[in-house]
Symmetry: C4
């Protein structure tokens, strides 16, 4: 079942390696079916060197395995909780990519310091609060999703397709698995540059709000004018 989605999710996982976002097995990408009833996700602990479509696991929105005998990624409960709460997203990527994780470990938002950031993230990329001891000991991965959802109480996951889990690492999403990988690549780049700016300026100037508006909105939403029109054939 869901062979096309499996292919797309498998490719997204392989692209994480290609773009240097994954070390060892620290990462996973998933996608949700069009009817939003099933999620395809990488099996747990499988080496990326051997990763094939058959290592994709189908689960329902409670995280129960629907097809196959492999265990899904241990982060599956986080993914499905995000899909249940963020109805507009189609793919999720989780990595421990270096620079985004540095900000997660420093427990700091990634401030918007330039147009690269503004092209992808509409404001500072937020960091969650730490989980409590109870949240960690009881359904840790579900609660990881819960603190993300809590952090997004007043944020739109379309305008802000990434979060840093405090002391852990980023979760990133998008309309498709492939787009969630693109956003993970963008997040890593803006995190690296934000760290560099902090080495030159202790308290750097955030990008002007009107430039943020301009850049995000020229790429996203009804007035976008970046890229090709949908029926062109570049």
């Amino acid at each position: 079942m869901l062979e096309q989605l499996k292919e797309e999710v498998c490719q997204a996982n392989l692209d994480l390696v290609k773009h240097g976002l994954v070390t060892l097995t620290w990462g996973n990408a998933s996608g949700i079916s069009e009817d939003r009833e099933h999620v395809v996700i990488k099996a747990s602990g499988v080496s990326y060197d051997e990763l094939q479509q058959k290592h994709m696991v189908v689960v329902d929105l409670e995280g129960n395995v629907i097809e196959g005998s492999l265990r899904p990624s241990s982060d599956t409960p986080t993914h499905v909780l995000l899909y249940r709460n963020f109805k507009t997203i189609g793919g999720i990527t989780h990595t421990h990519s270096r620079y985004a994780t540095i900000f997660a470990q420093a427990r700091q938002d990634i401030p918007c310091l330039g147009t690269t950031h503004a092209d992808h993230f509409y404001g500072s990329v937020p960091v969650t609060r730490p989980l409590t001891e109870e949240e960690v000991n009881d359904a840790y991965e579900v609660n990881t999703g819960q603190v993300i959802v809590e952090r997004f109480a007043e944020l739109d996951p379309v305008a802000m397709p990434a979060v840093l889990v405090a002391g852990h690492a980023p979760f990133v999403w998008g309309p498709t698995p492939g787009k969630s990988v693109d956003n993970a690549i963008a997040l890593e780049a803006v995190a690296e540059m934000a760290l560099g700016v902090r080495q030159l300026v202790t308290d750097p100037l955030p990008l002007e709000a009107y430039v943020l508006d301009k850049h995000f909105l020229r790429k996203h939403g009804p007035d976008a004018y970046y890229g090709q029109v949908p029926d062109s054939d570049p």
Copy 2:
């Protein structure tokens, strides 16, 4: 039309990827025809993985598409404005390369701290002022070019083939598209090293003016003695 220039511009765009200056689709290179009536530039938002000569778009010096059905890079108005004002340049490269962009986001010139810098840039690489809200909301890309031209009121674009747009990223140029890529590679290297020097010395010594003269002029202008004489066949 302009098939040779298209090939040259396509190659320049591919070289950006080869040298690690481009992430996702964040970059573009262009070239101007010998009669300075047409500019060839990359199409907007095309993946570098699939980039071919047919994705090169021909525009006039107002930015109107002259050939083909693809939209040109959204930065096209900036490129053509620079070609109109800097009559001596033949190619332009725009990237969000990491270290040059860090300085653009920190809104700091890149100081000349060594001979690597002096071999390519005759003094500090300048950063523009930020655009005003009006400039951003009305013809943003044209005004990006305007603040660059304003910043070069007393600078020679041959002696200083690069600029940092504040809060954005570098624009770099040269006598040909390929040479503008070389300068973008050099800019990234000197930015990376300037950031490193700043980690060792809070207020580093600029390169002595007489060394700057020596290095820039042994590579550029009538008394250059670097490289092979034009009729040799290395």
Copy 3:
């Protein structure tokens, strides 16, 4: 003799290069036979470009060469001493990988700042005391092992599979040669991120003890639930 172990150790050495942990000949991996009577280790000073199984040397637990005419790695006395003292380990990797070595040279433990660290190392990665002049001049490599063993007086080498030798570089181990390489890769990643965090926060918060417990124990020991069950076929 021990052809399978030689193959495994040779592959571990080659994997060090593949993962960018080794410059020139600065590194070596070894493995111990099941009966814990012989150790297979890379020959000294052999170029990684030419490394083959025949360059693996068999020594006994005193470091005497048992098979072949090549000199074993000059670090052999350190390896065998660790095998004699840490009865639960099956492979050892020594590198001068950049970031782990930076902490060794700074003579600082690598603090546990995030779950990436907690997944592999159960607490701060310790640094040894410096060797005394006598220890250096008399049986230097043996004494390098001795200061490691001394540092582990109250540490479990299974829970903490790495150490930094002050002013030198890391030694890392695991149940097999391949797992020791995985731990060396993980160590380098957490060292790089810890250095980055230190650039954002002078005195970063260590990971909460209950998150450290959760992460280490979900991957290690009887209650682990990460990866596939042993008889699955991913």
Copy 4:
């Protein structure tokens, strides 16, 4: 003439690229003939993508071209001056490799902070004084060599096979062209790590003198015991 040396020097130049020490054309390696009457060096400004043995130029110890029609590297006068003064060296490598150049631009010695450094360089890697205006304007490249020789008045080029020219970049040497490249690789690694240590510790502890002795002397000189004995066949 000197075909074997040309091959060796050509390979050394190509190895600079392979090991990431060269950007654009910023670098060159040379070697001296056994009778110390001729030097083989890369031609000036030739792209590394096209570099072949025929681009190697033979000069005498005054820098006069003895064979071929190509201009030798513009740094040739520096190379030949070093060969004339340092009688024990057989190859020289000049690069603008990132981290070594950062120290050259910061005009700081690279302190010996660990055994990686001690294995290759017997003490701090020295930086020269800046050249005077007269020295720059009159025979710049010769005088670059002179300030190096001046800096080595009390240093042995065998024990210290590298120097940083202030505001410029490193020159590195060794008994052969290939060994000078190895030393350039080592220099870049120790410079990168020294910069990292400085981010953790403002004033890091130098390596103990007795460890420096131990490491340098176990690899160099009559009591060396690293690597294979000369007649072994690893």
